[in-house]
Amino acid sequence: GSDSGGGDGENVSLELLVPIYGDKTKPYWEQLVEDFEAENSNIDVKLETQSWDDIYTVMTTKIQNNKAPDILELDAAGPAYASDDLLYKAEEIVSPETYDDIEPAFIDSAKIDGQAYGVPTVASTRALFYNKTLFQQAGISEPPKTWDELLEAAKKISALGGGVYGYGMPLGSEEAQAETSIWAYGAGASWEQDGKMTIDTPEAREALTFMKKMIDEGATQPNPGATDRTPLLDVFIQGKIGMIEGLPPIVGQINEKNPDLDWEIAPSPTKDGEPVTLGVADYFVGFDKDEDKQESIAKFLDFFYQQENYVKFNDNEGFIPATKSGAEAAAAKPELKIFLESLPDAKFYPATNPAWGQTSGAFKSDVGQIETKSVDEVIKSIQAKADAEG
């Protein structure tokens, strides 16, 4: 290892670990690394890509063996590594110019004790995708704004029969926490208070109760408890679901897989129409392994955030950019309009709370049980898991 690190002439090797969003992810990074290395001959970037399924397993092993990568892109779990004192601060891994370009809202969402550790790469919010054809058939003219309207519309669509369902509610283990959060935030709930996880709140109970009502009254697809998001989105794309909460990349998928679908996006319905929705961002974090690679890391990330590279990344994956300059570019795209508009009302996961990981896991494994068990029982078990010592 070198002491001075990063300086010109000194050879530095950077390990970069990124998850795969879709089929354009890997080529993008390969190109980027190549371009970067062409400019910085002394820095060797070793790219490792993993599927979202496996990246957590791989990371756990790496951390356990003190072999963390230098740069990691991950969801909000990334900045959370700071709670084990593993990370550089956010402003240490990018230049001040880059740092300033980033939407403060996103930075804030990943702060621990007021300190940011991750630099947001992409962001997204949720919105209601709906099938206009089915709406017409069911005689619904307006997308629902409140839960009651949603329930009513969904029931009407379900009543069409023929394998068509009103509302797609994915509570399977893939991303149950997202669906739950949309509903709970819509009732004004918040998952964290004073550093503690607050799951068992009246608001959340209300949300879960209404979700159960949706299920019980046949407004959703069958077996929502065991339905994962990705396959359900595909069903929506195939025109068999009236409404579903979706996020920006779905737009591209619909265009690709079923361009004939007549669809539209509306803001997520809430309990009484208050605009609020779930916001999510992914982050870059840099691991501090006492190796003085900080400068090289910063070089690389700055390169990534160069307008041209960064916009291409977001275009590829179909997300909302997290930088101010990026957002300006994105505003030109009509399909992102609703998402961009809902950004100010977006509420994020309390992802930097060390207990969020297990809480989110508890949602994944338990919340689907509202289909069969009482809301009380389910919510208590999630709260218990959230409270467990890490």
Partner: protein, 312 residues
């Protein structure tokens, strides 16, 4: 079919080479024109049953095959179609050039790791299986159990420790690491399978070889191996397939994409919000074919009443 064609020439052989439970009865070779025909009809009946069995075992892979030819639009169609309306034969071509993963490398990786892993496992297992089948010694049972115990551990659970070990040995992210892991993980089954086969060879046959001047190695090569060949073939297939499909350890131990085997490469087709199922299926089919080909090559060795006539 070719089997059937060669049938008439094998006169009375049917009786000795027949199935184990086929009554070693009056299977006439010549003369009686009626008997063979009756038998033929029965055997065609078996073929029909066989066809049904084959269909059951192939069903999921037919789905896979049909999926591999479907287009991106069609693969998740609701309701589904059995066959693609638009046959995308080029899925099998384009996937090699897909940006997600360097498939030729991955295929090579899988082949090298599986072949070497199988050879290594077999080389280590053979002497142990042989010795334990032939000799009684005090630590025999403990040894056999130790071998077995190693197999009871979850690869997923061991991966972390392996990672640590190989990093310190500086062979992390090399084929060698995975060859060692595969060999070790499959060793015990190879030992146990071959052990049970070695035990069926009458010991006098081997003793005769020693008296004929064979060293242990020679008698192993010239006498024992040919006689336990069905068992070895079983062990080879087992080990090879296990190596071929290994995932958990490769995922952790081989971060570099060009080193990775197909199984890990496949996960690259699984994105966050959508998966390229047509490629996943196509690659899976490509993954199955070499194994089936290997099997076709050595299948005939599975069948052979080899030890008949050796001792009385």
């Amino acid at each position: 079919m070719s089997e059937l064609a060669s049938e008439p020439s094998t006169r009375g052989e049917v009786a000795t080479k027949g199935a184990v439970l086929d009554p070693p009865t009056t299977i006439a070779g010549t003369g009686r024109a009626t008997a063979p025909r009756k038998r033929d009809r029965r055997r065609w009946g078996l073929t029909i049953v066989g066809g049904i069995v084959a269909l059951v075992f192939l069903a999921p892979y037919l789905i896979m095959l049909s999926g591999a030819f479907k287009s991106r639009q069609e693969i998740l169609k609701v309701p589904p179609e059995y066959l693609p309306t638009d046959w995308k034969f080029d899925n099998f071509v384009t996937m090699w050039g897909t940006p997600e993963t360097p498939l030729p490398h991955n295929l090579l990786s899988t082949v090298v790791i599986s072949l070497c892993g199988t050879v290594l496992a077999l080389l280590a297992a053979l002497p142990a299986a042989y010795y334990t089948a032939r000799h009684n010694f005090r630590l025999k049972l403990p040894f056999m159990l130790l071998v077995l115990v190693t197999q009871m551990l979850q690869p997923t659970v061991l991966a972390s420790g392996l990672f640590r070990e190989f990093v310190s040995l500086e062979i992390n992210d090399t084929w060698l690491a995975m060859i060692l892991v595969n060999a070790a993980f499959n060793l015990s089954f190879a030992v146990w399978i071959m052990h049970s086969f070695f035990a069926t060879v009458p010991k006098e046959i081997e003793e005769a070889a020693w008296l004929d001047g064979c060293s242990r190695g020679q008698s192993m090569r010239q006498i024992m191996l040919p006689l336990v060949w069905p068992g070895i073939v079983t062990a080879i297939i087992f080990t090879f397939i296990a190596c071929w499909n290994e995932f958990a350890a490769s995922l952790i131990l081989l971060p570099t994409d060009t080193n990775q085997p197909l199984t890990v490469a496949l996960t690259r087709f699984i994105g966050q919000y959508e998966s390229a199922w047509q490629y996943v299926f196509a690659v899976s089919i490509i993954g199955i074919l070499p194994v089936v080909a290997l099997f076709a090559m050595i299948e005939k060795h599975l069948v052979s009443g080899l030890t008949a006539g050796g001792v009385k």
